[in-house]
Amino acid sequence: MPQAIDYRAILPELVLAGTVLSVVVVDAFLRPPRRWLAMPLSLAGVLGALAAALSLVGEERTTFGGAFVVDDFALLFKVFFLVVAVVVLAISLRYIREGRYYQGEYYFLLLTSFLGCLLMPSSRDLLMLFLSLELVSAPAFLIAAFRKTDVRSTEGGLKFFLIGVLSTAVMLYGMSLVYGLTGATGLGEIAGRLAELPAGQGNLVLAAILLVVAGFAFKVSAVPFQFWAPDTYEGAPVPVAAFLAVASQAAGFAGLLQLMFQAFVGQADAWAPVFAALSVATMTVGNLIALQQRQAIRLLAYSGIAQSGYILLPFALAGAGPATDRAAFAATVTYILIYAVMNLGAYAVCVAVARERPGLLFRDFAGIVRRAPLLAVGMTLFMVSLAGVPPTGGFWAKFFVFTAAIERGGIGVWLAAVMVVNSVISLYYYLAIPREMVFADGEERPLVAPVLVRGVVALAIVAIVALFVFPDLLARAPQGATLVGP
């Protein structure tokens, strides 16, 4: 029976898809000096999609036979992704224009990836999740290798592609197992069927779940699927690295949240310990290797791995009752939101510095405090925030994870202790770049950053401090946008 499609529900995606297409077409008719106009066009499309998403706030809609859902959770993430898109576009303009990249293709691919991000939090079906994940990844493979003259970019892109394809294959296998066990692809149905399975199939179910998780573990660069991240980030254009670190990773977590807290929530006792191990390994490996880094983007990549470990921690707390589940869920979402602010700020600073010194080694940051105080103050705040030290919003991100862990008790207390030690270690390398910027001597002439980049940095500074004073600004929304059943 043909079903009517609820176009209202997919309006943000439609607007963005239309923008993607028009960017390609318009680009073909622009003379080379005018090609940068693809960016304002993309920006207009993203803002349109943002308006469409905001117009849906408060609604609950379902379409495509339950595979696509619009609810508070989905909208929270859609708005988040679109805001991230605005920021990534803002820091892309000068970088892409001055770097002699194919501008039309770049914005086309970037927005396509964002389209995948938008679909992700609405996908309540295994197939839909797979499609969204691939839509995020496939264009990202290309733009990660966009610095074609640089062999590292090619290598990074290829690595990204190979590991990505491999983990996708593993995930598909897991999905087929889940389908074989339950005969369903909808997340809600899967949960119901899994509960009815006869005893004795627990191991098979756990195996299927873990195989599915593998695909997302790649996306969020969790150990042992993290190898691609540093090379890919370093090789990619800096705004693309920002996209990968923030939007692509968040999309992975959005998918993971839906899977674990909707489809597989009944099996939490089985998979939560796996996440505990995953989380501890990811944060520890990320932090320890980050200590050795000498290049800003690689540092941020390893820091991203460590942060993934922190964000994975609340998953390990699942299964102890709805109240703690809700706290854990909200902690994860809050962390993702706050993490994005500080991470985007840090990448924006890197974009500004990369104009002059594309190598982005630590010593390239020497003495920037005298050349561009805003960048130095910003970077210091973002790095301190990533370490989770007041006076920054990053403190609350970690705090809510701690709260959820201590509330859970038992293993949660130990996990919190491990995370605490890890965050202290992380401070050492997070201070490496501010140390160069503030303590070391460098050139004296002013460093001029593009207006948009400076704007992003300034906004991120304000946001990080405002979040510190009033964490309710962000911490409240995830509480309402939970997928944990009553």
Partner: protein
Amino acid sequence: MSGWETWAITVATFLPAVGALVIAFVPGERDRTVRALGVLFTGAALVVAAAIAIGFDYGRASGLQFEVDVPWISAINARYHVGIDGISLPLFVLTALLSFLCAVYSWRFVPSPGRTKAFLALQLLLETGMAGTFVAFDLILFFVFWELVLVPMYFLIGIWGSANREYAAIKFFLYTLFGSVFMLLGFLGMFFRGPEPHTFDIPALQAFAAAGGFSRGFQMVVFAAVFLGFAIKVPMWPFHTWLPDAHTEAPTVGSVLLAGILLKMGTYGFVRIALPLLPDAAVAWAPWIGALAAIAIVYAALACLAQRDLKRLIAFSSVGHMGFVMLGIATLTDTGINAAVFGMVAHGVITGMLFFWIGSVYDRYHTRMIADIGGGLLQKAPRLGAIFSYIAIASLGLPGLAGFWGEVMALLSAFNPNTELGLPLGWFRAFMVAGGIGTILTAGYFLWTIQRVNLGTVPERWREEPIPDVLPVEWLSWAPLLVLILALGVFPRLVLGMTDEAVRALTGLLGG
């Protein structure tokens, strides 16, 4: 309670932070404006703090006054709860005073590499963190203020410190952060095991704990967590190793604030949080804390005897003085805790002054090595030398000066600890003896230092060098401290009058 009393604390606490923001927007080349703003904002904060001290109702010093209690973070029921009682008040006023004097001192002395704007902005930010810690009555608010001091102090040491500054700065930051994050976990534990609805409110948790709400096993674990945070900050032996580096490398103003205020945050934490919220564990841990304190006193004194760097010597002497404070706290008696709070204030005034003095000496001699200075300061710069004799004697605990009361009361209380709670009398008597030996050694090293620095003849190399005596700006920033050293020694009631009632209320909670 209405009118100015509701906003007085908030203004005094956040005015410096506002000042930091204002300074951030002043063009960098307007040096004098920046310095004037620093003095202005810290001065205004001091005026408000003084007004609080005057308006404070000393008749009911055990209760919270100037209280503000409004919701802050709904998700975790954290509140903006500030107030002041007899224990907070002296430390709060001391913070405002020392910060103001530091700003005055910075009028003339901004250490290399200059950058006055950042220097003062960080100082002001630091003041907000320090002052807030002493008035916060919500665990989360307390923690936030507590951590707020780390970043400014890191940069104060890292940019304006001496040769080994970067190492000292990161060591300070990592070490204290390590302790405080465990403290945070302890706070969260109390939150979830505390009364329904869960709360971080210190008075509410106090009442809950006094009624026996927390089980003994739970208290022991949480006490260990918060102990780590406070003990590193104090610092107690053997967690003190960050202190000599940080104090020695920090610029003068940084050392003054570190010694004068930051260390007190740790001891204040014991008095405000660890004892009343975890009374059973406090009793169980007290002998061990006393033992560590006794070791610290003797160890620090011996270490001081071995120092060749004046500033390092003063830094180590802080470890010893904080040992007396902790010994007083460990006795869990009225006398002991009164001694502790008095000791905190006295140490803040005396050691703050000592660090000012060594800063000025370094400014003139460009060395801090006792052997390089080589004696004869009293001849070369008589006033500077006399000031040193005065504060060194105060620091070693001469009766009639500020250092005396904290030490002698701590020793007295160790002679007679709170045996009703089951503290072992023999142990504490032994600690008292150790403390007594420490006092003698302290007198020894200070007198020996006076001899090596002040007395004797001026060495050849300094004879022709111009060594200016105390400058007007130094008089200005030092005079209040010099007067206070005498005043506190002669009228200990200046502090004890505030604290006594609050301390009695606190020890009352332990007995229950």
